[in-house]
């Protein structure tokens, strides 16, 4: 097994849903992380629970990128694919995310019954110049798997992949015991380890290539392995929220699942409402009572919540809404990613719009965002959104363990959090439409809220001047945020020049990597991503003016005659001719390489 040294590599394990591909991925990345490698993992999750085996919708798997440097995204191309059968392989080849020299390991256990199908998929791969190595689980392995009712194949593949990536067997066994130790009976655990061992030996003896990623000395301090939705859930606790009111929806539900298990131990409740509208209504009711509460949803739920969002703004009840975006419109693709909700969030709900929008771009953002959101929501008594998305929610990586903030009153928000979101502290006194904002239970105040227009005393009032004042006061709250916003940090050192690349949320890792790579090549390319996407900082126009081309990268649809949401927003705000170099709504993340290619096109004079 000749060993090839690499700085970074990406591989995929593709299986039928329900066979534990993601579990195998979890084990492997823990081993990588413990042995001083950096990882980024993106699970592939089918939209249905148990699609028929050996069908295209059944594809379930893990895409793992491993490197000797810190990774911020899932990268460009896959070097190695291990597929349980030809159908999942065929499905995945459609996405065209493999490198031209990708090596494929294909299990041919089902081949006899599906000769033609195997033939045609192998032909397809060979035609593209990919190398296919077929294999079958060894006899001893087969017997053990048979004895476990067909389960355990993932462990065999795990063994193969760890041998290929030169992870020591002992390190792997330690992780397997860590993950399964408490859940499986001793005897079953032993069998799983045995199957793993067979896979490991098989690859060592039969696969003619292997890769080693250099070990880096682990930096001191505790590390955690966490995904975006878990980080949000823990951030919700850390921010001092006491109620999450939600309705099941992919890909937001796991926030509710995580909190349902642990929230009561931190004085919090999870309320599963009868529908999306009810869920937000209950969050508003609790916050009217002075108890920090929030709701989490995804696209279709966001549409349903719109009336209450406007109500919260007018009634001046703090409101925090998490929207884990998925591919839309309508039901769209529940387990694919997109950033197209930005417009619905900023301009949504009828009448004038006064909202604040936070976009998360990594797991640390996810952990801190609830604190930022609570500060803004209570300070301004306006709706505040946290926009995540399917990839953010489900990808996870190893980070230095942040120290929880344990927020009490919002005025105690640490400078560190404000700095993280590039915003200054808001003024102590912020004018409200109604001067009395007492919580129920406060003697003598009797605050009564309504969606009707009111005067300063809270009385229903339809006079023109009063209504105009209410608009002005609500909008002034948003303007306070504009004035407090600082410019997001630029990637690298280019502050003026040819091209400025702008993104927000989920594309940040890829934009950063592409911009840094261009700068390493001496190209005049700058870039940044927003963490607060709405409103925008006042200084923005002058920063953008220092570049010849300003372009956005967005996982949202756009074409020659239609700008995607961020480009549209930036154009209207700055009157700068912002173009878009990538606006794809494929459901897949945008790769750094594709951004870099587009940047070079512009530098070479190819029009956007």
């Amino acid at each position: 097994m000749p060993v090839e040294k690499k700085r970074v590599s990406r591989f995929e394990l593709l299986m039928d849903a329900g066979f534990g591909a993601q579990k195998a991925g979890d084990i492997l990345i823990r081993a990588f992380a413990h042995t001083g490698r950096f990882v980024f993992i993106e699970p592939m999750i089918p939209a249905e629970i148990s699609p028929p085996a050996r069908s295209r919708p059944a594809l379930s798997g893990a895409m793992i990128r491993v490197a000797d440097f810190d990774l911020k995204n899932s990268g460009n191309e896959t070097d190695i694919i291990l597929a349980q059968h030809e159908i999942v392989l065929d499905r995945r080849l459609d996405d065209n995310e493999h490198s031209p020299t990708c090596r494929i390991l294909l299990d041919i256990a089902d081949k006899k019954a599906n000769e033609d199908s195997y033939e045609s998929v192998c032909k397809r791969a060979t035609k593209q110049g990919l190398t296919i190595t077929t294999f079958e689980v060894c006899e001893d392995g087969k017997n053990l798997i048979k004895g476990m009712g067909g389960k355990g194949k993932n462990m065999y593949y795990l063994g193969m992949l760890s041998a290929i990536y030169s992870v020591p067997e002992e390190a792997m066994v330690t992780e397997i015991k860590m993950i399964f130790g408490k859940k499986l009976k001793e005897e079953i655990l032993e069998k799983n380890i045995q199957i793993f061992h067979f896979g490991y030996l098989f690859a060592q003896a039969n696969i003619d290539f292997s890769i080693i990623i250099e070990e880096k000395e682990l930096t001191s301090g505790d590390k955690i392995l966490i995904d975006g939705n878990s980080a949000l859930a823990m951030g919700i606790i850390d921010a001092g929220f006491k109620l999450l009111s939600g309705y099941p929806i992919t890909p937001a539900s796991s926030i509710m699942h995580t909190l349902a298990k642990v929230f009561p131990s931190y004085g919090g409740m999870v309320h599963q409402a009868e529908d999306e509208i009810s869920a937000i209504g209950t969050a508003i009711g609790a916050y009217y009572g002075g108890v920090p509460s929030l709701t989490a949803t995804s696209g279709p739920g966001l549409s349903l919540k719109q009336e209450f969002i406007g109500y919260a703004a007018v009634a001046e009840v703090p409101l925090v809404v998490i929207d884990v975006q998925r591919s839309g419109p309508s039901t769209g693709m529940p387990t694919k990613t997109e950033q197209s909700d930005l417009s619905a969030v900023i301009w949504g709900s009828h009448g004038d719009h006064t909202k604040i929008v936070i976009g998360v771009g990594n797991v640390l953002d996810c952990f801190y965002a609830p604190i930022m959101a609570r500060y803004l929501a209570e300070k301004l008594r306006l709706p505040v959104f946290i926009l995540s998305d399917f990839i953010m929610a489900n990808s996870y990586k190893v980070i230095d363990k942040p120290k929880p903030i344990e927020l009490g009153s919002i005025e105690d928000i640490p400078q560190k959090i404000l700095d993280h979101f590039w915003i200054g502290r808001l003024p102590d006194e912020i004018e409200m439409v109604r001067s009395d904002q007492s919580d129920p239970g406060t003697p003598g105040h009797m605050r009564r809220i309504t969606g009707l227009n009111t005067d300063q005393d809270g009385k229903v009032n339809y006079f023109s001047e009063t209504n105009q004042r209410s608009h002005a006061v609500r909008n002034e709250k948003v303007h306070h945020v504009q004035r407090a916003l600082r410019m997001p940090d630029l990637f690298g050192s280019v502050e003026e020049g040819e091209i400025l690349v702008i993104g927000w949320g989920t594309t940040r890792g890829a934009v950063a990597e592409a911009v840094h790579s261009c700068q390493d090549q001496g190209l005049s390319v700058g870039g940044f991503c927003f963490r607060i996407v709405y409103p925008l900082p006042l200084i923005l126009t002058s920063v953008m003016s220092k570049f010849k081309h300003v372009v956005t990268v967005e996982a949202a649809y756009g074409d020659v005659m239609k700008k995607p949401p961020l480009a549209m927003l930036l154009r209207s705000k700055t009157l700068i001719d912002v173009q878009t170099i990538l606006c794809q709504a494929t459901g897949r993340p945008i790769s750094p390489k594709s951004i870099e290619a587009k940047i070079k096109d512009i530098l070479n004079g190819i029009p956007v």
Binding site: R30, A33, H34, D222, I224, L225, I226, S230, M234, I237, D238, K242, L243, S245, P264, S265, Y266, G267, M269, H271, A273, E274, D275, I277, S278, A279, I280, G281, T282, A283, I284, G285, A286, Y287, Y288, G289, G290, V291, S293, E307, F308, Y311, A315, V398, K401, K403, P404, E406, P440, G441, T442, G444, M446, R447, R448, I449, T450, G451, L452, V460
Partner: protein, 307 residues
Amino acid sequence: MASPSEEIKTENQPLTVKDLNTENPRWCAGCGDFSIIMALKRFMVERQLIPHQTVNISGIGCSGRASFYINSYGVHSIHGRAIPVAMGLALTKPELKLFIHSGDGDAISIGGGHLIHGINKNFNCVFILYDNELYALTKSQTSPTTRKGHKTNTQPSGTYLDPIHPTSLALGVGASFVASTADWLPDHLVSTLKAAYDHSGFAFVHVSQRCPHFDPNNFDHKETSWFTFLEHENGIPVDKRLVGKVETIKHDPLDRLQAFKHAIDPRVYFGLFFQDKEKPRYDVILQNQVKDAKQKARSSILDSFNL
């Protein structure tokens, strides 16, 4: 709904109806809504409820304005959705006394989904259904409780379908407390509110309510021959003014099946249809989860993610 010891007003002066008035309601003269909020105020005075620990929550429609006409805390929410808002308060601020005001269109049409689940979750509140059997604020359209044949602006040849019976709906989804009364029976209305308030859980109070503007002939409030009071030692006392002048029958509020029969009977019954004091309360279940959980410091929240 409360432990009586909490109800005494702490200020030196006892609470009066005047303390509970706000502005002049913008309702039509003769509207039944006046009588309903007056009954609620009389009840609050009788029990000396603390206004700042009381929240009136309403939806949209004529009834929606009720929350602005009672000097307590209040939420005039959006159409059909007072129940979810009240749920937020019931879960997180159990010390507050909650009264929900909702019309027939608000509660049974646009808010029908919430009503089912509010009843089923049995969270602690008094739910008052202002049933004038049509949409009024939007100017006379057919509602789910409009009687068949009644002409409205949306069904001008006469309402097409038979109405939904609110009491039978409530019984059908397992309400723990179902009573019915009328805005022109002030004594019975106050007694009904008392019984509802004393009930632990979601107390469903149906009130037949006159709309003199759009349907003046609907309820003949001067005539008593068309309704019957349900009477029982565990029920709601017959209206004082009508004792001996109106038909009454014995009905045990534990008898759910008989309650159904009365609810779907073409004849109108007022009184306590059903009460189940043992039905679990969702708000208490969630509050107990917090109470029973071993409390942890937030500094530990990320420990389970340690590599």
